[in-house]
Structure formats: C-alpha cells, structure tokens
C-alpha cells in the first residue's frame, strides 16, 4: 500500500492495518517528522514537491526489492507533500513479517532507498520567511549504497 497525500496520517491506524493478517510475528515502523533544524537553523516548516506517478512506481519497486531480499508479509508507505509545519509527520514506512530481523531490515532498506531514489524534493522555510531547497546529503547516498542501491 502506497499513498502520497497532503493530509496527516495516524500511525496507530497504519500499524493496525499491518497486524490483522494473523501470520505476522513482527511489525517494524519508521515515522519521519519535520524538525527545527536542517541545512539551516530556525526551520519553521517544510514544503514538499513530488513527481506524481513516478513516485508511486519507484516506491512500488523498492517494496518489490525488499520482498526479494527478506521474507515480509506486508509493507505500507505514506509520504506527505505540500506545506508541513514544525512537528508534523512527513513519512511512514511499516513492514510486517514473521520475524523481527526481516521487518527491521526491510523497513530500514525501504526508507534509506526512498531518500535517494523516490522523486521528492524538500524546501526548508525558516522563521524569517526565507526558503531554500534542501541539498542531497552524502550520508544518505552512503546509506543507500550500503544496501547496494544508489
């Protein structure tokens, strides 16, 4: 399940959707939030843009790759776009599996790979009203390369 949306999501609802199949013994989730510092200090909000269609295709491919590497039951990815104020949820990745190690690994892989291959762009809006596009981080590229991606 992949959703790109402007509205917020409820983590509890998403976890419940992952746990009702009766087969899974583990659920690993990641939630990303808007924080007050990034490339600049005093970040007050983010603006997120994406490439409709390609975004969903890339994330679906990452979930397929995760299924090829680990035994997972289900995966859910939600990514918000548009104007997101401080503290808001940005992204959710949840994976259910028979075993915790597969759930942890697949969740981390999908999130790391998403950051360097899914067409989203983030703009930081600071408290003084200035805005600038966020630069891609070497550390994110290295994380993706560590999985053999990127």
């Amino acid at each position: 399940m992949i959703r790109i949306q402007t509205e917020d999501f409820d983590v509890g609802t998403e976890i419940a959707a992952l746990e009702n199949n009766g087969r899974s013994g583990a659920i690993a989730t990641f939630t990303g939030l808007v924080r007050n510092r990034g490339d600049r200090q005093d970040v007050a909000a983010l603006f997120l843009e994406h490439y409709p269609g390609m975004t969903e295709n890339v994330i679906a491919d990452l979930i397929d790759q995760a299924r090829g590497r680990w035994t997972i039951d289900d995966a859910r990815v939600i990514h918000r776009v548009g104007h997101l104020p401080l503290g808001d949820r940005i992204v959710f990745v949840g994976v259910s599996s028979a075993h915790r190690q597969d759930a942890f690994a697949a969740c981390e892989f999908i999130m790391d790979a998403l950051k360097t291959s899914a067409p989203f762009w983030k703009k930081e809006i600071t408290a003084d009203g200035e805005s600038h596009w966020v630069e891609q981080k070497d550390s994110d590229r290295e994380k993706a390369k560590g999985w053999g991606n990127g």
């Binding site: 990303g32 997120l48 843009e49 994406h50 490439y51 269609g53 390609m54 295709n57 990514h79 940005i90 992204v91 999130m111 998403l114 950051k115 360097t116 291959s117 899914a118 067409p119 989203f120 762009w121 983030k122 703009k123 596009w133 966020v134 630069e135 891609q136």
Partner: protein, 91 residues
C-alpha cells in the same frame, strides 16, 4: 485524396523543484529530431540563453524518461515524457 502533412514529432519535458523555479516553467513541448538522445535535448534547451544555459552548468541533473531514471545517452522517441530534476531529498 491528398496525404495530410505528417505532424512534427515532439516530446514533453517536465521540470521539478529548484530547476522548475530557476527556469520559470514546469512543462514544455519540444520538437524531436531523429536519433536524438537526452543529452542532445539538454544541449538544445541550453542554447536558448539565460536561464536555460544553467542546464549545462555544474549542478547535478537527473533525468527520467517515461518515469524511469535514465543516463544522458538514452535515445528519445516521439511522445516520450522526459523529466529533468535535481537530486531527490524526500523522507
């Protein structure tokens, strides 16, 4: 009955994020010459002067054709959807 003139082959080019803002446009239709690659398209666009010449600068530029990432040597065909954008920063 006379044959109607063949429509000129074209492609759609989309721009995102900082590149969209720098160029001041999010989409255009460009003529496609036979055998042209993504690199040829970027070269032609860059010849239009400022701000298009920045496409040939040292800023990293990613390319997708029909929503899949490709290299600059990728050949183009009529009707392709080409997207140009900076490195991605989601999550």
């Amino acid at each position: 009955m006379s044959a109607s003139p063949q429509a000129e082959p074209t492609i759609t080019v989309k721009f995102f994020a900082s590149l969209r803002e720098r160029l001041g446009t999010d989409e255009l239709t460009a003529p496609l010459s036979a055998g042209a690659t993504v690199a040829d398209l970027i070269g032609t666009l860059a010849e239009q002067g400022t701000p298009w010449d920045s496409l040939k600068g040292d800023r990293p530029l990613l390319v997708a054709v029909n929503q899949a990432m490709v290299k600059p040597s990728h050949p183009l065909k009529p009707g392709d959807e080409v997207a140009l954008f900076p490195p991605v920063t989601g999550g």
